[in-house]
């Protein structure tokens, strides 16, 4: 069973790597993907069968411990229970169907290889999430799913719109990841080493822990709910989902119809003991579900495109799942999840046939769609028209048409203030300010001579500087190199701040920086190389299509982007976790600035990557005037 658990992780990863190393011929990619999808199927079904035979236990498997140091450990831990079993089953079934579907559907498409690579990356992330044994590993999977989702939305990178929407989805993901990042830290803080999912139930049966950590658990619940609503496109984040339907139809089907959208539900199912122990978080989950159902079902009414309509229909059902969850109907949720996943996946796959369906079939029968029925074809349905006064009718319509104004709400509350603040920060200006430098020097002297108070103040100042640096990177539009270096600067400042708090953690800081520094330098070099013949300032908003014109550099930039934002391919991922844990143990306020930096850095660096690498290669040429 343990071997099978491992196989579920290793198979998609190997598939991803072998597709990456293959020469890109369709036949080979197909053979690889069929083979691995079958092998995955066999191991998943064998796993489920074994699990069922041994009486549906809650099975936990500790593979090894990646990192362990005084009190902090990062185990690689897998866990299988009925929730993971249901998800695992769905993941494979839908994945296998999609692989088969795409074999023909994507035939001769540019990016065939890219597509299959990404989709294997996606399923690797999914399996990691579904089978993870604690919140740290789950977070790693979460990030992988996020990044592959981002890549598939921007699959058609020639057009600015998919690229824009990829960034939009990524921003929301990134913001909501804060929930998980802080959540991981808090669960360490609260439960120490017993933060395994397998022990949560037992833990919460003991009432004592609740009383001791009331506020902590309350916070943790909030964070988890935030992460879940972002990923599942619940209130107030619903707006990103329809806009993410930019990739090939099957990728939209598997991500936004079937699997990715239900991950929030999964997270809530996994952590149910934590947030359902108190009444208020349950109420919040219920409220989010209810608000989502209301907003999304109204928005669905005015969607005049088929994919948007399906997206909102799916969001509504996930909203119901949230409500069911808050009432503790776990089994119902699982059933609902499976039903919704399969139905939406199928609906999206056949969505192009809506034209034939409506025009050639439904005209004859007395269905929902009746072009003949002129009554239905104007303004709102008659029930509303007859009961509401005109002004309310219009209000209702505007509300639905603007999808509850959620997008602008999130934008005004979250991004605009940050941007405005960032635009005011001029890093260079601060560095050249003699008073500031002098003050810091004095503090530094005090700190070195052992005044703890000075250290504390200094740490605070450094973390303010860190946030400011991030903000300025976020708001910078004119120079990708500046953005890049400012992002790196803010990471260094994070290290310095932690060091000031407690120099005992220098090994952890080194671990963190060992991921950041190479990524930063590599990225810097790549950027300089990319921009040597470009006049960036002249047209800063043009997508430069380097992924096609200079694919190697683009790949390097992508990798260094992943490294710089702490994606789980470098030690920085672990280091980030460690810094947060250690520093915040002593100074809980530090959690806030470091997570803000985390979000902003990610978005800023992603923007650099998109601006430079995406787009359609066009070389302006002058038609030979003389001839």
């Amino acid at each position: 069973m343990n071997q099978l658990l491992l196989a579920c992780q290793i198979l998609p990863l190997t598939a991803l790597l072998s597709i990456m190393l293959s020469d890109g011929s369709e036949k080979k990619i197909t053979r690889i993907s069929y083979w691995f999808s079958h092998a995955m199927g066999i191991s998943i079904f064998a796993l489920l069968a074994l699990w069922a035979l041994s009486g549906f236990p809650r099975h936990e498997y500790h593979w090894f411990t990646l990192y362990e140091q005084d009190g902090f450990s990062f185990p690689i831990l897998f866990y299988l229970d009925k929730v993971s079993a249901a998800y695992l089953f769905c993941v494979w079934t839908i994945f296998a169907v999609i692989i088969k579907y795409c074999r023909v559907y994507l035939h001769r498409e540019t990016g065939y290889k890219r597509f299959f690579q990404t989709i294997f990356g996606f399923v690797f992330g999914l399996n990691l999430i579904v089978l993870s044994g604690d919140i740290d590993l789950l977070f790693a999977g979460w990030e992988i799913v996020g990044i592959s989702s981002f890549l598939l939305i921007a699959f058609y990178r020639h057009r600015p719109q998919p690229v824009r929407n990829a960034l939009r989805a990524y921003t929301i993901y990134r913001f909501c990841d804060v929930g998980l990042l802080l959540g991981a830290w808090m669960s360490h803080l609260l439960f120490h080493d017993s933060s395994h999912f397998s022990t949560l139930h037992a833990l919460f049966e003991n009432q004592a822990i609740l009383q001791d950590n009331y506020s902590g658990i309350f916070m943790l619940s909030w964070l988890i709910i935030l992460a879940a609503s972002g990923k599942s496109a619940q209130f107030p984040f619903s707006f990103w989902l329809p806009r993410a339907m930019e990739g090939p139809t099957p990728s939209s089907a598997i991500f936004y119809g079937a699997l990715s959208i239900h991950l929030g539900v999964f997270l809530l199912l996994r952590t149910q003991p934590i947030w359902s122990s108190e009444f208020l978080p349950r109420l919040v989950v219920f409220g989010i579900g209810l608000l989502t159902v209301i907003v999304a079902s109204l928005s669905e009414k005015t969607q005049s495109n088929i994919k948007g309509q399906l997206a909102y229909a799916s969001i509504v059902q996930v909203g119901f799942m949230f409500m069911e969850l808050s009432m503790g109907l776990e089994s119902l949720v699982l059933l609902h999840f499976m039903g919704n996943a399969f139905l939406r996946c199928y609906q999206l796959l056949v969505s192009p046939s809506i034209v034939t369906h409506l025009l050639r079939l439904e005209g004859a029968v007395d269905g929902d769609f009746t072009i003949v029925n002129a009554e239905r074809m104007h303004f709102l349905p008659s029930t509303i028209r007859d009961t509401l006064p005109e002004v309310l009718q219009n209000t209702l319509y505007v509300f639905a048409l603007q999808e509850g104004n959620l997008e602008r709400l999130v934008k005004t509350l979250l991004w605009d203030p940050l941007k405005r603040l960032g635009a005011k920060v001029k890093v260079q200006g601060y560095i050249q300010n003699p008073w500031l430098l002098g003050g810091i020097a004095v503090l530094l002297l005090f700190a070195l001579s052992g005044f703890d108070f000075a250290k504390g103040v200094l740490a605070f100042l450094v973390s303010v500087a860190m946030v400011l640096a991030s903000l300025s990177a976020f708001a910078q539009k004119h120079s990708p190199v500046k953005v890049w270096n400012t992002v790196a600067l803010s990471s260094f400042l994070a290290g310095i701040a932690v060091w000031l708090m407690s120099s005992a953690y220098w090994t952890d800081i080194m671990l963190f920086l060992s991921g950041i520094i190479p990524a930063w330098l590599l990225g810097w070099w790549v950027l300089e190389k990319m921009l040597e013949h470009e006049n960036f300032v002249a047209s800063p908003f043009v997508f430069r299509a380097m992924a096609e014109t200079r694919p190697r550099l683009a790949l390097l930039l992508f990798l260094s982007f992943l490294g710089l934002v702490g994606f789980p391919i470098t030690p920085a991922f672990l280091g980030e976790d460690l810094l947060l844990t250690h520093a915040s143990d002593q100074h809980p306020w530090f959690a806030l600035p470091i997570t803000i930096t985390f979000v902003m850095n990610g978005v800023a660096a992603a923007r650099v990557f998109l601006r430079l690498c995406m787009g359609r290669p066009t070389e302006i040429s002058y038609v030979d005037e003389s001839k």
Partner: protein, 866 residues
């Protein structure tokens, strides 16, 4: 379709005051004219430039739209190395440039230089215009903010049945709807509530446009250009609005909208957002520091400058391809044997097919299987133009080329003997089409959702098994219906249509068509009328696969109507008076060829009084074999198809293609179109033309004045020429003229497709339709003397542009000597090819194509004499 004038008048470009209406008319001519997706009408994408010569038009269009006009240089050089572009053709093309020998020499030298960039789009109004410069200066990504708002309003307003709540009230104009939401709602309609524009809302669209333009542009000289640039930033929606404005009939549910209203709403939106982003004020376009290097909408921009090297390569490629057909047709002596079967004894059966290039191969295969069958080609509406409303149709559709507006309506009805079997409920298996969001959705997903796991797996893994819905999706009418063709009274219905035809109207149409194709005597006992349609699933562009001569509908109703009329004694009596004597023993039977599945369906056999059993049996058997061969021939294009000897496998494969939900290429449609031959079948009967030719039957001897030819050409230019040019431009720049890959397409309001939920409507053909197309202009070979063709052209009015400006190339082929002449405005030029140029020969079709995956030059078939 559209009635705008095709000549420019530059009066509006002068700065003597700005006239909004004239400006809109002036700039709107450049918008795409593709209508709602339910009728896919192939047309010249560069219709607005048709008054210019072909190459000049390409150049001007490139500078307006920012599109590529030719293949990359590498591709031409590669074709040259492969021998598809020949030296004599290169010489010919160089000669056509009008350069002297020395210049030609110099030009020839640069043709072979490596050049990776020249084919890129030029600096254009759409991409580098004033608006773009202004927005770069302001650092605002305005399109990203304005377009979603505008598209959402437009698609909700124009929606034909996808959204559940409709925006407009009965008879409300677009402007009024927007105004109602903006002014009479408790929630503000963003961004019309911004202080910068809220005060403007009470003005008329005209006033709003001029006050917005004043703030944004500042100088009247640039107004017109700015309007054009706004429209070209989303050509799909602008074009759709223009089409609906000019032709409200193109929508099923009428909507009142105009470009002016669109511009007013969009300008308000732009002004609101820019003012919000730049609270301290912003410079108007006229105040920008430098407008240097920005293309301006003026004489200079509309002045073509044709890149000679590309022109030469392109012409040379076309000439090489043309020569492949012309050389093969040249030698009359080899066809003499052919003529014997046609004239000597009467054939077993005669079959009328559509002119369509996909029928080119099925006709050849049928004749190869059974040389006793004679085939004819005619535009697939068979000369009968009418609105048709089938049993299952929600609304009547026009069954004729888009240039004709029919006056008659034909209804399909059940035979009296048949019981009404339609249930009032949607079939259960279709429930997933309703997205049913809330409680019903909750119930369904809980209960039925899991079932879709099996449904999905079944559809994906077993597509050959007939999908539920294939029968309903296919165009084959129920066998037990009949068409209501004979008119009982002359009272027009509410829409002004006449219900059915009178006998003499029928005789006009039948007689007209028979004369067109030269079939007025020697009728065989069985005359088949074979329409065509194409079935596919999961394909919003399905209409583009059907019959082009029926405006993107299957031709079955026309075939049925034709057979019914031609069998009618009354019609025959009138025809006899007019000199066409159809023997009493001759029966007409209608059928339809499904071009994607390669299947035949036969109609109304039960209605024939004395069915010609033997001939029909023979015909059906021959057709079965021909269909299999045809399927095998088509499979050579499909990389994933079995490339085996067996026709059965191939046939199975094409069937499963048409019913697979994951197959973006149910067939390659008109991908190979290149030739069009108007003449007797005898001149093409012994040729293997690789499904590349439109074939129209025409007997030169019966048409000394060119009148018949004029009728034929008036359908061929717009239909075949339209198909050809739409494929060509979609291939040359698939992202500007075409609609890109169809994989991410999203159906918008039953109007069209877009990328994602907030993209612009995509016009033109998809990547999957054009990927194997060779972009060359249509070559029309007419078997007739040049003088008579001249007479024909003089009857064609504006359609002459097609030939005169070389949007199609025309060759006259003398019926007896097979001497050939190329048409140009300057006159007819005799065509000479090098003496050693010979068409390749083969015994029969099946020896030619196996193992080849590119287009194949025309072959002579030596095994066709028996």
């Amino acid at each position: 379709m559209t009635s705008h004038t095709s000549r420019y008048d530059h009066s509006t470009t002068q700065s003597s005051g700005f006239n909004l209406d004239a400006s809109i008319d002036y700039v709107a001519r450049w918008l795409p004219i593709q209508g709602p997706i339910k009728d896919f009408v192939h047309h010249n994408i560069l219709h607005a430039f048709q008054h210019l010569r072909f190459h000049e038009a390409l150049s001007v269009a490139g500078k307006l739209f920012g599109a590529r006009s030719y293949l990359p240089m590498d591709d031409y050089q590669m074709l040259y190395r492969q021998g598809r572009i020949k030296d004599f053709a290169l010489d010919w093309a160089l000669n056509q440039t009008g350069c002297n020998a020395e210049q030609q020499q110099a030009l020839r030298a640069i043709l072979f230089l490596q050049d990776k960039h020249s084919h890129y789009p030029p600096i254009s109004l759409a991409n580098h215009g004033l608006r773009n410069a202004w927005l770069t200066h302001l650092e605002i990504d305005l399109n990203a903010m304005v377009h979603p708002i505008i598209f959402r309003l437009l698609s909700s307003f124009l929606d034909q049945g996808i959204s559940r709540w409709i925006l407009p009230k009965n008879g409300e104009r677009f402007w009024d709807s927007v105004l109602r939401l903006a002014q009479n709602s408790l929630l503000p309609l963003y961004p019309f509530n911004e202080p910068a524009v809220a005060g403007l809302l009470n003005d008329s669209p005209d006033e709003i446009i001029s006050s917005c333009l004043q703030k944004i542009v500042g100088a009247e000289t640039h107004y017109q250009q700015y309007l054009l640039e706004i429209l070209l930033a989303h050509p799909g929606w602008s074009g759709m609005v223009r089409v609906i404005e000019q032709n409200p009939q193109s929508l099923l549910v009428k909507r009142l909208i105009s470009i002016k209203e669109l511009l007013a709403v969009e300008l308000l939106c732009e002004l609101a957002i820019v003012s919000k982003r730049k609270p301290g004020g912003f410079p108007a376009i006229a105040e920008l520091p430098s407008l240097q290097g920005i293309p301006l909408l003026n004489e200079k921009l509309l002045q073509p400058n044709v890149p000679l090297k590309f022109r030469v390569w392109h012409d040379a490629m076309e000439w090489s391809l043309y020569s492949e057909l012309l050389v093969a047709m040249k030698n009359p002596s080899q066809d003499e044997g052919e003529r014997q079967t046609g004239v000597g004894q009467s054939p077993i059966a005669q079959a009328l097919f559509c002119i369509d290039d996909r029928e080119c191969s099925i006709r050849r295969n049928l004749e190869e299987v059974n040389p006793g069958i004679e085939t004819f080609g005619a535009a697939g509406f068979f000369g009968i133009d009418f609105f048709y409303k089938g049993l299952d149709d929600a609304y009547p559709v026009a069954q004729c080329p888009v240039v004709i507006t029919p006056k008659h309506l034909v209804l399909e009805s059940l035979d009296e003997s048949q019981e009404e079997k339609k249930s009032g409920m949607l079939e259960f298996s279709k429930m997933h089409y309703t997205a049913h969001s809330m409680f019903r959705g909750w119930l369904y997903t809980q209960t039925l959702g899991l079932g879709y796991a099996f449904r999905m797996a079944w559809d994906v893994f077993r597509p050959t098994a007939k999908l539920p819905g294939v029968r309903t999706l296919s165009e084959v009418s129920d066998a037990h219906t009949h068409l209501h063709l004979l008119r009982e009274n002359d009272e027009p219905n509410a829409d002004g249509h006449l219900l059915g035809f009178s006998l003499s109207e029928m005789a006009d149409r039948i007689g007209g068509l028979l004369r067109n194709i030269g079939l007025t005597e020697n009728f065989s006992p069985l005359v088949m009328v074979v329409a065509h349609g194409s079935s596919s699933v999961n394909n919003p562009h399905f209409a583009a696969y059907d019959c082009g001569a029926c405006s993107g509908k299957p031709g079955a109703p026309n075939a049925r109507a034709f057979a019914w009329m031609a069998n009618h004694d009354g019609v025959r009596a009138i025809l006899r008076e007019r000199g066409i004597d159809i023997p009493a023993a001759t029966r007409f039977v209608s059928a339809m060829h499904n071009t994607s599945r390669d299947e035949m369906s036969y109609f109304d056999e039960h209605e024939l009084l004395e069915p010609p059993v033997r001939e029909l049996q023979v015909f059906k058997q021959s057709m079965e074999i021909a269909l299999e061969r045809n399927a095998r021939e088509r499979c050579r294009w499909f990389e994933l198809a079995p490339q085996s000897e067996s026709g059965k496998d191939a046939h199975q494969h094409v069937k499963s293609r048409s019913s697979s939900i994951f197959e973006p290429r149910p067939e390659y449609d008109h991908s190979n179109n290149l030739y069009c031959v108007v003449g007797r079948r005898a001149i093409t009967r012994s040729l293997f033309m690789d499904r590349r030719s439109f074939l129209h039957s025409y007997d030169a001897a019966t048409d000394p004045g060119g009148e018949i030819l004029a009728k034929i050409m008036s359908a061929i230019f717009p239909v075949c020429g339209g198909i050809n040019l739409q494929y060509m431009f979609s291939r040359l720049d698939n992202s500007v003229y075409g609609s890109g890959t169809k994989l991410p397409h999203n159906v918008i309001g039953l109007l069209g497709v877009a990328n994602g939920v907030e993209g612009d409507l995509r016009t033109g053909l998809t990547q999957q339709m054009i990927e194997v197309h060779e972009p060359a202009r249509l070559l029309i070979v007419i078997e007739q003397a040049p003088e008579i063709i001249d007479m024909t052209l003089s009857r064609l009015g504006e359609l002459r542009d097609w030939a005169e400006n070389e949007w199609v190339r025309m060759v006259a082929c003398l019926p007896d000597s097979r001497e050939m002449f190329l048409y140009s405005v300057k006159g007819w030029e005799k065509i000479e090819f090098p003496a050693d140029l010979q068409a390749p020969a083969a015994e029969q079709s099946e020896n030619i194509f196996p193992g080849r995956d590119k287009t194949i030059p025309v072959h002579r078939l030596s095994g066709r004499h028996q």
